[in-house]
Amino acid sequence: MSNDREQMTRRSIIDLVDAIDLPADTATRRSADQPAPQPPGPPARDSSQPAPSAQVTAPRHHRWRPAWAAAAAALAMVLAMFAGPL
């Protein structure tokens, strides 16, 4: 193959390789209109919606009981112990 012919072949090869359609790089590139991924955590709140109340109803088994209710329960238990033998 002549030198000119070889140079032409070289250019054709380079053109051919450059023209190969490559798959998108999903590992590192994002399209401009694609939002960046959010870090893990609660989802962002919609600002058009009112803020949720800070008062959250606790699950039933964790509901706080007032001190007087605990005292009444203890008293009822004591009375039941003494009332049993009577």
């Binding site: 193959m1 012919r5 070889e6 072949t9 070289r10 054709s12 090869i13 380079i14 053109d15 051919l16 390789v17 450059d18 023209a19 190969i20 359609d21 490559l22 798959p23 790089d25 590992a27 590192t28």
Partner: protein, 159 residues
């Protein structure tokens, strides 16, 4: 090629990914296979990144060799499948007539010759560098390139 200094794996990936894909696609003729080959090479590089002196050269060598092996394995599979798998030309390159002629001519080359052509012409490596990249003696590079050029000339003249 990757920047000099102390590149991270991420920066090597960003710099080398497209070139390696082109190498694998040129040798295998399959962009999908090329993507797998390149990802496997990066996965292996990740294991030994600290021990590799020149990640770009290491990757070029790994991808070239894997691509040639992939074509060989496919040829064996095709023999067993009695040519059920169609021959694939070099990956999709558009529809310019001249480009299609070159693509068809290249698709007739053996994978070893394609790899040599890519290293010598596209990467512009010397014979010694090509030999080191492909793991063959320099004389083999010279003879493979000469035969590849002869084949290309014949194919292009036929068309």
């Amino acid at each position: 090629m990757a920047p000099t200094g102390d590149p991270s794996l991420a920066s090597v990936y960003a710099a080398e990914r497209d070139g390696l894909l082109r190498l694998a696609a040129f040798v295998t003729g399959e962009v999908g296979a090329a993507a797998d080959i390149v990802h496997d090479a990066f996965a292996d590089l990740h294991e030994t990144f600290d021990d590799v002196q020149s990640p770009p050269a290491w990757l070029t060598s790994a991808v070239a060799r894997r691509s040639v092996s992939w074509v060989r394995r496919r040829a064996v599979a095709r023999r067993y499948l009695q040519s059920a798998v169609p021959e694939r030309p070099v990956a999709h390159v558009g529809d310019l007539p001249d480009r299609l002629r070159v693509r068809d001519a290249v698709s007739r080359l053996s994978p070893q010759r394609r790899a040599v052509v890519f290293c010598r012409y596209y990467l512009d490596l010397s014979e010694a560098q090509t030999a080191a990249t492909l793991g063959v003696p320099p004389g083999t590079v010279k003879s493979r390139l000469a035969r590849a050029l002869r084949e290309l000339e014949v194919c292009l003249d036929e068309q």
